[in-house]
Subunit: 330 residues, 2 copies
């Protein structure tokens, strides 16, 4: 892009005031230079959001920026890593200040909240897309992976499940939202657009959880990654799924419908994790200061695969969308 | 993308056998985990190549992969960093095995040559583009930046300059290539498509060069970044520019035309660096084992900006394209 366009982008990128002590060189050379404390590992994750695939080209740029960074921060949270640095590759059809201003404002607001510094990237001309590479720090040997779940462990999730899917349904069918209270609509839509990455929970789970991941494809799709990675079976009891009052109201108090949404809702950015029974007290103490609620939803068993139970017995109702999730389990 | 498509991509990504000891966790979890040796900094660079902007959508996928990775490796070389890890964000309109197979073959061939491991990324559906984030290791305090050039330093470049632009001209106007020998055409086209990132030179320059960068926009555009970053002036003598026999033949032995190409040719991936006169012997010794030639092309002076000289006197001919490069100096 030409000089003036670079200047415009520099102007917006200069909005961020955050300067971390471990960044020896930020934007403006061939590479950024960062320093890692001794005895820490670096967690690295890359995600792309492409217009037309992950969001509509006319989507609110502030929401696009939030989603791009929050989903990456959630990957760091799932490893128990503390956010540190982010690189931003931004491809734009044209330099549109009306798009860039809210995008950058939202991006840096969230970045500053989590003390993550933009250290570089690339700005190119082309169809709208955003690729972020985030990096975080975790004490060596303490990262939470998908591989450590042990037979007998409890299975937990943070927060409530299903709200993001309900919020998306309200966004996609605005006329239907008139039957609900404004407060319910606002709450559920915010849960979709403004899900909070559980960074402080991930940090608190170091040394306590045996396995963890974030819920991005729906808990039944994601929990299978723990079962596969740890070579165990997992039982989930649908009666233990945490459901918000707003979700139940959205479902007309149809509990089964709410449970179905809770099982399949993606982009929740809640953490799903396992921990031994012996660690129950330690878990309670560690998460007390995070102000994030958590619920036990199941158990780790010997074997393989995922089983859904209701009050300890096999589920009698058919989960619609189940086949789809089995099929695209990746 | 659906399961089958993921499996196809996994198949191609599994081609790579390279496993670095410092990668604690590679592809398959929420994040990769890497370990950095004590007293090293991490150099990080991100570049995007977008179809229609940086290459034609029907370009040879092997060349696209090579260009994407080589240009990023060249950024590490310019910092004196040793390549370590790379994340690949690949956006594809469809999963086309006829495209993916040569892309991956070329990508991993180059990655293995430089001992850089793919640690993660994202594969998404959308308009064709490739974003790489590469990371390298450099002893703390020894990275080569654009800021250290001192008045009195010599200015050097590796290799020959101008070949990449000549190769591109031959590619874009194939009918004209019939007037040249097949050997000349092959050599210059390869210099465009297969430029070698000067990683071993960058490593050898640690502790010797005072400033460095790679030539990606043409030496007169790039050397100004050193002048600005180091707050000095730089003189370049066009008679000292290293010109290949093939470039001179391509230019019909018109030396001035060859010099002009050498000054403005981008994507050379040669290094431009400064070093003190006192370091001339150390430089010679350090670069002797790299089998890469280097040439002194100028001097660092007090002041600001870039001056072009010919045999020590102000240049008498007009550099076409000069205004363009001045304008887009960024």
């Amino acid at each position: 892009m030409a000089k003036n366009e670079f200047d415009i982008i520099k102007h917006y990128f200069a909005q961020q005031q955050l300067q971390r002590d471990d960044v020896a060189l930020a934007i403006g050379d061939d590479c950024a230079l960062v320093n890692v404390p001794a005895d820490y590992s670096v967690a690295v994750s890359t995600d792309s959001l492409v217009a037309g695939t992950h969001f509509l080209a006319d989507a609110d740029p502030a929401s696009v920026a939030y989603k791009a960074l929050a989903s990456n921060l959630s990957d760091l949270a799932a490893m128990g890593a503390t956010p540190a640095w982010v690189s931003l590759a931004l491809t734009l059809p044209t330099i549109d200040e009306a798009w860039l201003a809210p995008f950058c404002h939202s991006f840096f607001e969230l970045a500053n909240q989590y003390n993550i510094q933009l250290i570089g990237g690339d700005t190119t001309k082309g169809p709208l897309s955003i690729t972020l590479t985030v990096q975080g720090l975790v004490p060596r040997g303490q990262a939470l992976t998908r591989r450590g779940a042990q037979v007998g462990d409890d299975v937990y999730v943070t927060g409530d499940l299903g709200d993001s899917a309900a919020g998306l349904a309200l966004i996609l069918n605005q006329s239907s939202s008139q039957q609900y209270s404004a407060n319910l609509v606002t709450t559920l839509v915010d849960r979709h657009f403004k899900a909070q990455p559980r960074v402080n929970v991930g940090e608190a789970l170091r040394g306590i959880a045996s396995a963890a991941l974030d819920i991005s494809d729906g808990v039944i799709a994601d929990v299978k990654h723990i079962a596969q990675g740890s070579e165990v079976a997992i039982d989930i009891d649908v009666e233990q799924l945490p459901l918000s009052a707003e979700l139940l109201a959205f479902c007309g108090e149809d509990r089964q419908r709410a449970q179905q949404l809770a099982l399949t809702s993606g982009e929740e950015y809640e953490l799903c994790f396992t921990a031994s029974v012996a660690n129950r007290d330690a878990l309670k103490a560690a998460l007390a200061h995070t102000n994030v609620k958590y619920s036990c939803i199941g158990k780790v068993k010997a074997g393989s695969g995922l089983s859904l139970l209701q009050l300890g017995k096999p589920l009698t109702w058919q989960l619609s969308g189940w086949d789809h999730f089995v099929e695209t389990n990746n």
